[in-house]
Amino acid sequence: MHSIPLSYYLILSVIIFLIGSIGVLTRRNAIIIFMCIELMLNAVNLTLVGFSRFSGDQAGQIMVLMVMTVAAAEAAVGLAIVLSLFRNKETVYLDEVNLMKW
């Protein structure tokens, strides 16, 4: 049944996670950065589901549901924040937002 071993899931999720975090590191647009973060969260979801599937323990999948909901809430808040920033500063590029430093 388990034709595809667990390690495949884990490696794939690590790759996705890294793609996400590298995206956060390299992109300037706040919204795209946030998308990358969502990507990281979903990579984690993959890990959780994978583990849960192979250990037969349901908790992992419940956690995935939680993560999805939280991600949605974060998305809503995040977009609102970006919006209010855009209203004041006319930009969504993170490297232009450096009023406070040192």
Partner: protein
């Protein structure tokens, strides 16, 4: 299953890609090109194009979209509830489980009343 068994699949994918590429290229090569204003203009099913497609949407769209996501995603918790409800019911914990879900929905309802009263769903 061994990798060999995937061979037909791979062949099919390659064929598909090749077909697409060839047909696009071929059309470029073979097709006659005599551009004119009408041809360049956007196709509005025969109508004259009115104004540019690039325009800002009202923030209301985003607002509603966010709210939709929020309330939509909550449904996700009802699936496991629905799946396990029968078992709880058999154990005689049906009412308790039902009350739990009702509490959950009521909490959502509070949120709904809030956005309603705050006028987040008003359009004009």
């Amino acid at each position: 299953m061994t990798p060999q068994d995937y061979l037909p699949l791979i062949v099919m994918v390659l064929t598909g890609i090749a077909f697409g590429a060839v047909s696009i290229k071929a059309h470029e090569i073979l097709g006659p090109r005599r551009p004119s204003k009408e041809k360049e203009s956007t196709y509005e099913s025969g109508m004259q194009p009115v104004k540019t497609a690039h325009e800002r949407f009202s923030v209301k769209y985003y607002l509603v979209a966010m709210l939709f996501i929020l309330f939509d995603i909550e449904v996700v918790f009802m699936y496991p509830w629905g799946v396990t409800f029968q078992d709880f019911f058999d154990q005689g914990m049906g009412t308790l489980t039902l009350v739990a879900m009702l509490l959950f929905i009521v909490t959502l309802l509070f949120g709904y009343i809030y956005i309603l009263k705050k006028g987040a769903l008003k359009w004009d």
